[in-house]
């Protein structure tokens, strides 16, 4: 086995990555070959120096971490909402364009938006025909409308009549309350006078 092939396997030997049989074979060669032994020792030393790297003391700030996590999630949700809104608006525009068979073109230096089916042979409807249709409903519908009007008026009258009755009842009750108040005031005054008279009488007896 040549030194070149052995040296190619020395890093694996230093780091324990060789299968046992292979490792034993390489170690036997290293024991007998001064040059390879020197190379092997240099790699071992290099590994020792690499293992002795920096080890800083670090403490993760969990309070700050939770706060930052919540903030990032909020911003991410905001971005998704904006994207969803934009996509929804775009989808609505596309749907509208497709459903209306909208056509956008530039014609004679003007932006033309056209929708609906073109009927070059169909005549344009005249306003007179439409108006006639609206102001002349069929008799059955006319009778229904008249009935509804009468019912609404009757209901309104009934409501007005009921309101009037309630107003009269409330006024009557108000009068009764006023009367009771006057009567109770009179009785209180009489009681007060009787008590004063009794007091004078008792005072005269004591003398």
């Amino acid at each position: 086995m040549s030194c070149a092939s052995i040296r190619a396997g020395l890093p694996a030997l230093v780091y324990g990555d060789l299968p046992p049989e292979e490792a034993a074979r390489v170690e036997r060669h290293v024991a007998d070959c001064a040059a390879c032994r020197k190379e092997y020792a240099a790699l071992q030393q290099l590994r020792t120096l690499l293992d002795a790297g920096p080890a800083p003391e670090v403490r993760v700030d969990l309070v700050a971490l939770y706060r930052q996590s919540a903030e990032r999630r909020r911003r991410q949700a905001q971005r998704w909402r904006r994207l969803a809104t934009a996509l929804t608006a775009l989808a609505a525009v596309v749907l509208l364009a497709v459903s209306l068979r909208m056509e956008v073109r530039v014609q004679a230096q003007q932006l033309v938006i056209h929708w609906g089916q073109e009927r070059p042979d169909a005549p344009a409807p005249t306003p007179q025909v439409l108006v006639q249709t609206i102001i002349q409903p069929d008799p059955a519908t006319q009778a229904d409308v008249q009935l509804l009007k009468e019912l609404v008026h009757a209901l309104a009258d009934d409501v007005e009549g009921r309101d009037e009755r309630y107003r009269r009842a409330i006024a009557h009750l108000q009068d009764r309350v006023d009367l009771l108040q006057v009567q109770s005031q009179r009785r209180w005054t009489e009681t007060d006078q009787n008590v004063a008279a009794l007091y004078l009488l008792t005072k005269g007896d004591k003398r």
Partner: protein, 188 residues
């Protein structure tokens, strides 16, 4: 290699709403991740912030985790992405790393100084490697990561990573020779 079933159990509990499980994961992994980042990034003052970012991304991505591989591979991949993003933002060359590693407690002060100087030289040489080679070297010197584990982290075949590692070691040896540290001196 760290006990993956502990990590898997903590992840399962966290995903079911146990915040204490997430905090246990943080306490368990913050030092290894800090060590990994400090070697990879080469900017000691950035390690605290980068470490914070790693666990913040872990917290945000926790619900998407599926136990198909190992938790540590997933976490190191997050750390690697954080380091790569920091590298894209950084425009200055990497600075020499301070050495806090273990020294021979039985050695003299001169021996300790010499060892620290050598370690600084080696760390500078690592910092000067291209990112693809540097990542392989740093990962291989992270506790519990072999080439198969590294392959899951870097999503690269293990054979490719072994080749890169051999190239990286060769470059480090050449760098040491260029700096006047021959094999004999390193051997000492």
């Amino acid at each position: 290699m760290r006990m993956s079933h502990d990590d898997a159990e903590l992840m399962r509990r966290w995903r079911h709403g146990d915040a204490g499980a997430f905090e246990a994961l943080v306490r368990h992994w913050q030092q290894p991740i800090a060590r990994f980042l400090s070697r990879l990034v080469g900017q000691p003052e950035q390690v605290q912030d980068l470490c914070q970012e790693v666990f913040l991304r872990l917290h945000l991505a926790g619900q998407r985790y599926r136990e198909t591989g190992t938790f540590s591979a997933w976490l190191y991949r997050i750390a690697l992405n954080v380091a790569r993003d920091a590298g894209k933002r950084r425009r200055l060359p990497l600075q020499p790393l301070p050495v806090d590693g273990p020294c021979d407690p039985m050695g003299s002060a001169a021996d300790v100084c010499e060892q620290e100087e050598l370690a600084t030289v080696v760390n500078n040489a690592v910092a000067a490697l291209p990112p693809l080679l540097r990542e392989v070297v740093v990962l291989r010197h992270t506790d519990g990561i072999n080439f198969e584990h590294m392959a899951r982290i870097l999503k690269t075949p293990a054979t490719t990573l072994r080749s890169r590692f051999a190239v990286a070691l060769g470059r480090l040896r050449e760098r040491l020779v260029q700096l006047g540290l021959s094999t004999e001196e390193v051997d000492q």
